[in-house]
């Protein structure tokens, strides 16, 4: 038994317990809500033929987009990392930049020109554009871990560039690509904005409809549970597919940059293809909204816009600070004390995070109705729900920062006679401040784009940029959608660039919507 003085402090455990509860309790409520209706009702909802069609459509859309994004993203990653494409750094940024275009912003840009695009095909198109950067970043990260010396050894053993690609590179990135496809599929399952604008009845959109249209909350809850189950299949499959680290190096020598494969004339085909991709996924929405904006006729007055902007900023800042404060102790415990509780709590937070936003939002509706009536449909519950959604974003970054700090520093600090709390504040915490600041920024920007939680939980009569955009999009007022779309894209450029620069394949899908 470890002495109390060397174990995790109780105060940190308490906060971490609270954070875990925030992640887990709503899901329990969701299950209860579904169960309350009785087993018969659950089976009745699940076994109706339209649910089977719904599930098929949802999973089908997710897989089709995942495979398309996998093919495109893998190609772009290889071109940028391993071919003699001109200006690869620039193309890397351009391929990643669609992260700055929320899926509903991209979707509405297409529909605003051609309403007929609103279809399953349109959803495939837009969601593929949105998820290509995810796969690209993931595969790029895998390619970068490959030791270029391996390629050289293979060449010295008589293999030409094509044989190196087929026999060395492909087998080693295969699992990475598959994991990237699953991540993209998971993103599509969770997406709410694009499918709603494309009017494709998949789980997320149908759940919102079920919640809104009927006074039978159990149907929405049952469907949400079904979506959780489907998502979990993808969540659990991802590490299985990724497998154990397939790339490894002996020792840590200096990695040379890999030699690049000459494309010959294919170079210009590659440039044209990448240019087209960037134009369609980033250029098109930006130009579209600038065009609608420049045409005038917007019914958005300054008061409405500024009001939404201020609400967005205040909400974003509140959520961000709350998230980081709540997550810090958990991140510290997870990094320092690999206790059963710390590991379990970390997993719970990460799991809650891999759930679609609409599910988390819905679960907080039930918590609000049943247990938190005083704050239901008021700002505190919005903040709680957003914190639950964004905790995992901060958790990863903060945990990494804690892990990088040598443990001996805190040991030395304590041996000088300072109390633990003082050592934490003066030695441990300063080292993670940069990561904390970065997390605050990412969480704030994520909250600014978040849609389902606000649609379900926000106090009547208040709006953020995203909900105003949603309202104007609902009445197809292109000119009025434009300022909000432009503002949201401007907000998201910074995190997209950060992802392009530092993304190690861990880019989070919630950073995008």
């Amino acid at each position: 038994m470890q002495p109390r003085a060397l174990g995790a402090p109780r105060s940190a455990l308490a906060v971490a317990l609270g954070a875990t509860a925030l992640a887990v309790v709503p899901l329990l409520y969701l299950a209860v809500q579904a169960g309350v209706a009785g087993w018969d009702r659950v089976t009745e909802v699940l076994l109706s033929s339209d649910v089977a069609v719904l599930a098929l459509r949802s999973v089908g859309l997710a897989l089709v987009v995942g495979v398309l994004a996998g093919a495109v993203g893998t190609t772009t990653a290889w071109l940028v990392e391993r071919s003699d494409l001109p200006a690869p750094a620039l193309w890397h940024v351009l391929v990643v930049l669609p992260l700055a275009v929320p899926s509903y912003v991209a979707a509405y840009a297409w529909v605003s020109w051609w309403p007929a695009v609103a279809s399953l095909g349109g959803a495939v198109l837009v969601l593929t554009f949105t998820t290509v950067p995810l796969v690209h970043l993931y595969v790029t990260a895998v390619l970068r871990t490959l030791d270029p010396a391996q390629d050289e050894v293979a060449r010295s053993l008589g293999k030409g560039p094509a044989a190196v690609l087929v026999q060395l590179t492909v087998p080693q990135v295969r699992r990475g690509v598959a994991a990237g496809v699953l991540l993209a599929s998971l993103y599509v399952l969770a997406d709410f904005g694009a499918v709603a604008i494309m009017r494709v009845p998949v789980f997320t959109w149908v759940i919102l409809g079920a919640y809104r249209s009927s006074f039978d909350p159990s149907r929405a809850a049952v469907l949400a549970c079904a979506l959780v189950a489907v998502s979990l299949v993808f969540v659990l499959a991802e590490p299985l597919v990724r497998g154990r680290a397939t790339t490894s190096r002996v020792g840590r020598g200096v990695a040379r940059s890999a030699s690049r494969v000459p494309l010959g004339r294919g170079r210009w085909v590659a440039v044209a293809g990448l240019g087209l991709l960037a134009a369609a996924s980033v250029g098109f929405p930006v130009v579209t909204y600038l065009w609608w904006w420049s045409r005038g006729g917007s019914e958005v007055d300054a008061g409405e816009f500024v009001g939404a902007l201020v609400t967005t900023l205040v909400l974003g800042a509140t959520v961000a600070v709350a998230t980081v404060v709540v997550t810090l102790p958990l991140a510290w415990l997870a990094a320092r004390f690999r206790s059963v509780f710390a590991v379990g709590a970390e997993r719970a937070v990460m799991l809650a995070h891999s759930l679609p936003g609409i599910v988390v939002a819905l679960s907080f509706v039930y918590v609000g109705v049943r247990a938190l009536q005083p704050i239901y449909q008021r700002w505190p519950i919005v903040v709680l729900a957003e914190v639950a959604l964004t905790m995992s974003l901060a958790l990863g970054a903060l945990r990494g920062a804690f892990e990088q700090q040598p443990e001996v520093l805190t040991d030395v600090g304590r041996s000088t006679g300072r109390r633990r709390g003082a050592v934490f504040l003066r030695v441990t915490l300063p080292a993670v401040l940069p990561a904390a600041a970065a997390s605050v920024a990412v969480v704030a920007l994520t909250t600014a784009k978040e849609l389902p939680t606000l649609l379900l939980l926000r106090p009547a009569g208040t709006d953020t940029l995203a909900t105003r955009l949603w309202a104007w999009a609902g009445v197809s007022d292109d000119a009025s959608v434009a300022p909000y779309a432009l503002a949201l894209m401007a907000f998201s450029v910074a995190p997209a660039l950060v992802a392009a620069r530092w993304g190690r394949g861990t880019v989070d899908r919630r950073e995008v919507v």
Partner: protein, 346 residues
């Protein structure tokens, strides 16, 4: 005269504005292990990469068995050179088993698995074929990397600092195993290293790269007995540097005269540094002699004798162990030089 297996002539190479190779000449005979020794940053790895075909020389030529593989006009791709490489970190293919790694460069066919096992036996890893690279120790990984390079019977194997990623305690042992495997395979090898011990242990000849050129090539014993530069002398072992002046057929030093015929390499300067090995120093106890022992430090192969000369100057003299075991501080001794390794400009 036979055609050298590897013939490097006047090779130059730059990274940006920094020229790392300034006209390197080097040749390796068939069946020979040649160590290319140099400080880090001396360009030795670059030369290895040029030989293997991973980089093209800015000037000069590289020939294998008389066939030019790189010069201003020709460039033979690495996969067509039949030059195996063992990189610093082994770079085993992590997705393949040990046998898969070794078989990578072999043509498909019935002889393949026999050759794989043969090569694994050669590096002392027979029966390891089913293991995965991450299950092996660092030394084992390096030996698999060597087996992989040797499997297609290349014309030449380039080993780039193959032991530097290993623990010091393992380095000598793995070095022996690798040298044994190379000689058992009858392979021709270019061993790139910064470590003199490694070079001397494993190689038939050693080439020293400094300032972008090969400053000396020779058998290890040549480098020890007749170094051409102070760097080579120091790399080859402990050396005492004494000021010396040419006087007739001898050199005068603070430790007395040395006959020129006793000096391994005479650069011809009038005045400079005389480089002395422990074996060149003769120490004899002599009451009343002018030289006084200040302290005796015992090293593994010889002792470091701190002495005070007649003029009061102090000096640490390397000396053979046997003649100094009974010396104590304050003893009087006679110190003479029976020879020297080199006389160079100071």
């Amino acid at each position: 005269m036979t055609t050298p297996r590897l013939d490097v002539r006047g090779v130059e190479h730059s990274y940006g504005t920094q020229q790392v190779l300034r006209g390197v000449d080097l040749s390796v005979e068939p069946g020979e292990v040649l160590a290319l020794m140099g400080e880090s940053g001396s360009g030795k790895t670059t030369l290895g990469r040029i030989v293997a075909g991973f980089e093209a020389p800015a000037a000069g030529s590289v020939a294998l068995d008389g066939e030019v593989v790189a010069d201003g006009r020709t460039f033979v791709a690495p996969e067509s050179r039949h030059v195996g490489v063992v990189p610093q970190e082994g770079a085993l293919f992590p997705h393949l088993s040990v046998a898969g790694n070794v078989a990578f460069g072999l043509p498909r066919g019935p002889a393949r698995s026999a050759r794989v096992e043969e090569c694994l036996e050669l590096v002392g890893l027979g029966g390891f074929g089913e293991r995965r690279p991450h299950e092996l120790s660092g030394g084992q990984q390096q030996r698999v990397a060597l087996a992989r390079a040797l499997a297609p019977s290349p014309r030449l194997v380039v080993l780039d600092e193959p032991f530097s990623a290993l623990d010091a305690s393992l380095r000598a042992e793995v070095g022996e195993q690798v040298a044994a495997a190379l000689s058992a395979a009858g392979a021709t090898a270019l061993l790139i290293t910064h470590d003199a011990g490694e070079a001397f242990r494993s190689a038939d000849r050693v080439a020293v790269l400094a300032g972008g050129r090969v400053v000396q090539t020779g058998r290890p014993v040549d480098l020890y007995d007749r170094p051409r530069t102070a760097e080579v002398a120091a790399a080859a072992g402990w050396v005492l540097k004494l000021p010396a002046r040419r006087e007739g057929g001898a050199l005068s030093t603070p430790l007395g005269p040395v006959g020129l015929e006793q000096v391994g390499y005479d650069s011809g300067v009038e005045q400079g540094d005389l480089l002395v090995r422990p074996g060149h120093v003769v120490v004899e106890p002599a009451d009343g002699a002018a030289v006084e022992v200040v302290s005796v430090r015992s090293f593994t192969e010889h002792v470091g004798l701190r002495v005070r000369l007649a003029d009061g100057a102090e000096l640490v003299v390397p000396a053979p162990r046997r003649s100094t075991t009974d010396l104590r501080p304050g003893d009087r001794v006679e110190v003479r030089l029976a020879g020297a390794a080199a006389f160079l400009a100071g």
